[in-house]
Amino acid sequence: MSNLWVLNLGFAVLLVGVGLYCLLTMRNTVKLLIGIEVIAKGVTLALVAGGAARGNLMVAQSLAITVIVVDVAVIATALALVININRHTKSLDVRKLTRLKG
């Protein structure tokens, strides 16, 4: 089973990496949120895989569910922010969000 866990963990890391790549290079704020979601998927996968590998599946599930709920709240707030920003700037470009610097 241990090997399966490592496989899952490898893919989870891959997902997180892809998500970070998205955050780093993409410009569209909504796209960035999608990147966050991808990362969240990776994390969920890692959690459940960890539980499954060691016979803690039930705990893992409850953790995963909590993560998902938290994720929803975060994404909702983020989208609310994006919409509000969009009202001001009429844009979704994250690189135009440079009012605050220095």
Binding site: Y21, E37, A49, R54, L57, T66, V69, V72
Partner: protein, 163 residues
């Protein structure tokens, strides 16, 4: 099967990121969620799978689509042209590193076998009760946040005043 699902998950996630249209991205993400849900099913985590399917593939996709509809701003953001060849390169490199690291971990990590008793709901209610309180809190925070951000009255105060 497991590997196939994993690859599908990663592939659709990548598509979600690379897609030029936000709507397609969101849908790709939903598909990725379905893959993840299937994975969870496959691992036996039924409840988590259901949650993933309903909340992430469903609710979050809806949220995204709503937001995209509200902003209608996807046209003006030009992603870099280089994405097409940078991403594969990055992905490949990441994958290679990942494989190398994970191969070193393979079979090396000792672990304590869990000794779970009881079903899911018992675990959730008896062991992770505090998390539930937290969930309630986070949800209320989210709700209040959305309420605060979309409130009508009050105006912006002096927030806009300083530049």
């Amino acid at each position: 099967m497991h590997l196939f699902l994993l690859i599908g998950l990663v592939a659709f996630s990548a598509v979600a990121i690379l897609c030029r249209e936000l709507l397609k991205s969101a849908i790709s993400l939903a598909v990725a969620s379905i893959f993840l849900a299937l994975l969870l099913f496959e691992m036996g985590a039924v409840y988590a799978g259901v949650f993933e399917l309903s909340v992430v593939a469903g609710l979050i996709t809806v949220l995204f689509i709503t937001a995209i509809a509200l902003t209608r701003g996807d046209g003006d953001v030009a992603e870099g042209r280089a994405q097409r060849w940078v991403f594969p390169l990055f992905f490949l490199a990441l994958a290679v590193v990942d494989v190398l690291v994970m191969r070193r971990l393979l079979g090396r990590i000792p672990a304590i076998q869990g000794s779970e008793s009881g079903g899911f709901s018992q675990v959730l209610w008896n062991q992770r009760t505090f998390d539930l309180v937290g969930q309630v809190g986070v949800i209320s925070a989210g709700v209040l946040a959305v309420l605060a951000l979309f409130r009508r009255e009050g105006g912006h105060g002096k927030g806009e005043g300083h530049e």
